[in-house]
């Protein structure tokens, strides 16, 4: 387990679940997909098309496009900018995001 949430001083409301690559992940209302995944210890968001390299959140502000994932079937969704939602289906994006 690597990443973690700072809990001191914050009430995040009621947790919910979504899935990433089939595994259940906990998130809170408004939390970004990237933050929820990192808190769950998952940091790889995609594998690049040309060299099959692992990548993850880098800029954290929406301009580098390294954190893109497949969300509910839609490729190239920025995990750092997109709030998680209950029941959402998130997948690691391989290359351009062809369906698995």
């Amino acid at each position: 387990m690597t990443g973690f949430r700072i809990t001191d001083g914050i009430d995040r409301g009621t947790a919910f679940q979504f899935t990433c690559d089939g595994e259940s992940v906990t998130a809170y209302p408004g939390e970004s997909i990237a933050a929820a995944l990192m808190a769950a210890g998952k940091r790889q968001t995609r594998v690049t098309a040309r060299r099959q390299m692992p990548r993850g959140l880098y800029c954290g502000m929406g301009v580098c496009w390294e954190c893109i994932m497949i969300v509910n079937g839609k490729p190239a969704v920025r995990a750092c900018m997109t709030p998680a939602e209950p029941g959402m289906k998130v997948e690691t994006q391989h290359g351009v995001g062809d369906p698995a």
Binding site: A49, R50, K74, P75, A76, G95, V96, G97, D98, P99
Partner: protein, 381 residues
């Protein structure tokens, strides 16, 4: 520079100089160098720095006028042979192309137009209804019919821009970058060429400087009328397969294709803004919107993709829209390949045919009607 395909300065003397390192010039140089001739390419900037690097790479047979179908077939064949026979990776692909019609009037127009092309030797299949849907489920239901031409193809401006110059170098040709030609003179049965990297003398001169060819021809007292369009082109983010054919439109200006890396090029010849003097060229907001609207009306899934970049480039066109290449009028030993609507498609054929003239070989296809001399008289001049 070690390993470079470029030389720093032109030689003092050479047999043949090719002015302009786009697809037309580099193809010419390639065939001449492969035939063992001493050829130097003089390029103002770097090869593919202009239209040849900025274009969409569509090699479509069925959008062409009937008069140029044979020339186009020849060029497609050369494009294919680059990779297949000469080991030059130009990113050629031949998925076939669909030319779509969306209204009754367009369907009628497509029938008429394609029939005329059939007379001219074009092979295609008429597609509608389920047959069309099965082949291209990604097309909008607003597309009523299409012609499918198996020969429609594409090549990659990106890959060819590295590979063709490298091939010229490998074949013994020399390429001088940043060597803008500033003056041309007839001298002792040959030509004296001033460039920003020094002067040289040659026996044979080939002008392949795209829209600037007219200015060069004028230095040799030939007033060739050339027009320039400012074409816009847009590219999307890379995406999973959306479409797998080259798309063109009978009733709208459109070209669409998805490249191997998943990006989709959206263009067709919508006009940007700008002036030729000063090389100012910009996208036009309204026409970009219209270009995208047309594209989405044919392939609705495009609406979901993000636009990454839009740019504009110059396409040189002769007043009658036919390619203009051959001997430069009134100048022995000088040739020109200057303007062709869809000149990326025609570049390799133009290069081959010019080389055949220089090498005294019979032309691979008749070229009489493309003779630039036609533009010096009558309505065009």
């Amino acid at each position: 520079m070690a390993g470079s395909v470029f030389v720093e300065t032109p030689p003092r003397d050479a047999e043949i100089a090719v002015v302009g390192g786009g697809v037309a010039g580099m193809s010419t140089a390639l065939f001449l160098a492969r035939a063992g001739r001493d050829v130097v390419v003089l390029e103002r900037g770097v090869p593919w720095g202009d239209a040849s690097g900025a274009n969409a790479g569509t090699l479509s047979l069925q959008v062409k006028r009937t008069e140029v179908l044979d020339l186009c077939k020849l060029s497609l064949d050369v494009w294919k042979r680059f990779g297949a026979e000469m080991d030059i990776d130009v990113g050629f692909g031949q998925p076939g192309g669909l030319r779509v019609a969306t209204t009754e009037a367009e369907v009628a127009h497509l029938r008429e137009y394609s029939e005329e092309q059939r007379q001219g030797g074009l092979e295609f299949e008429w597609m509608e209804g389920n047959q069309l849907r099965d082949m291209a489920p990604w097309l909008s239901t607003s597309v009523r019919a299409a012609t499918f031409c198996r020969e429609d193809a594409y090549s990659s401006p990106l890959l060819s821009g590295g590979a063709l110059p490298a091939a010229v170098g490998k074949a013994g040709g020399r390429i001088v970058g940043h060597a803008e030609v500033t003056d041309l003179k007839r001298e002792d049965g040959g030509y004296r060429i001033e460039t920003k990297r020094g002067a040289l003398r040659v026996k044979t001169l080939v002008i392949t400087a795209g829209p600037w060819s007219g200015q060069l021809a004028r230095m040799l007292d030939v007033a060739l009328p050339i027009y320039v369009d400012v074409n816009m082109l847009s590219v999307t983010e890379p995406a999973p397969k959306i479409l797998d054919r080259v798309i063109t439109h009978i009733g709208g200006i459109l070209s669409l294709k998805q490249l191997a890396n998943g990006t989709i090029l959206i263009g067709g010849g919508w006009q940007g803004r700008g002036r030729f003097a000063g090389m100012e060229k910009f996208a036009d907001h309204v026409r970009l919107g219209q270009n995208l609207t047309t594209a989405v009306s044919v392939v609705p899934d495009l609406a979901k993709l993000r636009l990454v970049r839009t740019w504009a480039g110059y396409e040189a066109v002769a007043p009658d829209a036919l390619p203009a290449f051959g001997r430069l009028p009134n100048n022995d030993g000088a040739y020109i390949a200057a303007a062709a609507r869809g000149g990326f498609t025609f570049g390799p054929a133009q290069g081959l045919l010019i080389s055949e003239m220089i090498l005294d070989k019979p032309p691979s296809t008749p070229i009489g009607r493309f003779d630039p001399a036609r533009l010096l008289t009558g309505a065009h001049a």
